[in-house]
Symmetry: C2
Subunit: 222 residues, 2 copies
DNA sequence: CAAAAATGAATGAGTATTCATTCAAATTAT
DNA sequence: ATAATTTGAATGAATACTCATTCATTTTTG
């Protein structure tokens, strides 16, 4: 995303400035460009009907370009999922480390992150769901998603455990609370994807907050 | 493959069932059979790689059979989603009307329904997610899912409203509670699909119950 | 110039759809 | 009842088309 908009800007600047647009880009740039095009195509046409021709056209490049940089369509898709997952993880970790210092603030920041425009965006959600829809038949996708999920769950669970200790909450254990929060996020993304007229980021945030308030009332007031 | 092996299979099924071997079945029976085969194929191979040949083979019938009964692959998929949605709705309505009489019992029954084996089954979840994964690019799928969701949400919200009135709960409104519950269910299905080793139906039910207990403590004890 | 990057036409495997034909079952006639 | 006729479900080979992949050629870079 940022990479791509930057790329576009840089390109136009170069064209304007030097009148010699680079026709060849570094390997990493091209790969990002192609992955970005792939996501756009998946969001617009669906994973099953996205062809390598579509991706190349979306990227403004030629037919054979994907095989040149990714060897196969299968590989392109795997790398696309990896890129999507990486991007989320970077934001997650950045949020985790920059927020705080209290666990209540960290937890809140992480949950709010999930409904920030850069993440809770229908185009991007469509891509996530496209991959989740293939999870049963593609063990690799499942493994990749599972691995990330476990990491996030463990962080959330740790934060919940701290809140429970701090607030001396009874009747709730950290794992259950973390499970509920993580699954609520996923379910709310689904709602944003399927019912955009009924759901928006604010409403989704509300639903999560209501859970936080009722389970950790001493940390999240009102 | 040949007429004879198909004939043999169908014969034995029919003989067992009706004692009258038939090579031809009623239109509705065949359609159901084909939809069932479609779901099996989607769960096993994914939506994108499921071919009409796969479906026909899975059903033990011949190549052209799907177009004969459904005109097109597109139509077969739409009808498959419709069938899946219908099946859920029937169970939902049955549960709604048979449980009770108190709203707390009805709500609990509806939430437990979502994690009963017949519904929270990885094969079936895979099919749901396959369709959700195409929602952005297929307006029809989106509309179908959206329509159902609204109905379920409205029922759940009604029940929450009754609980809130009965229990004089403050700090929670029916819509927020219903939103949280519905989205949690969807998120938990995702967890069951992606992390079957970590998640099972019992754990998922737990997560939902924890929310119920913390939001409606006077109705769901302990 | 050599190496790397990119092109885009050609290939061929695969697949949705069509349709002439077969055949079991139901209907009608004898 | 038996035979003749009609029906329409089912088949599966043939068709037309799409698309991933390859590669000879061209363009760009250093």
């Amino acid at each position: 995303m940022s990479i791509h908009s930057n790329y576009g800007i840089i390109c136009s600047l170069m064209i304007a400035a030097t009148a010699t647009a680079r026709r060849t880009a570094s390997r990493e740039k091209r790969r990002h460009q192609l992955i970005d095009a792939t996501m756009k195509c998946i969001a617009r046409k669906g994973m099953g009907s996205t062809t390598l021709g579509d991706v190349a056209r979306e990227a403004g490049l030629s037919q054979g370009i994907v095989n040149l940089h990714f060897e196969s369509k299968d590989n392109l898709l795997k790398e696309t999922l990896a890129s999507l997952a990486n991007e989320y993880r970077e934001q997650f970790d950045k949020t985790l480390h920059r927020s705080g210092p209290r666990p209540a603030d960290k937890l809140l920041a992480l949950l709010e992150l999930d409904f920030r425009p850069s993440i809770c965006d229908r185009r991007k959600l469509a891509v996530w769901f496209a991959f989740w829809g293939e999870v049963k038949s593609r063990p690799t996708y499942r493994r990749m998603c599972d691995e990330s999920d476990r990491y996030y769950d463990s962080v959330i669970e740790g934060l919940c455990a701290e809140l429970i200790a701090e607030g001396k909450y009874k009747n709730i254990d950290a794992m259950t609370a973390a499970d509920a929060l993580s699954s609520m996020t996923n379910g709310l993304w689904q709602a944003c994807l399927i019912s955009p007229q009924t759901w928006d980021r604010r409403k989704a945030t509300n639903a999560v907050m209501s859970y936080l308030r009722s389970v950790f009332p001493r940390h999240y007031k009102q």
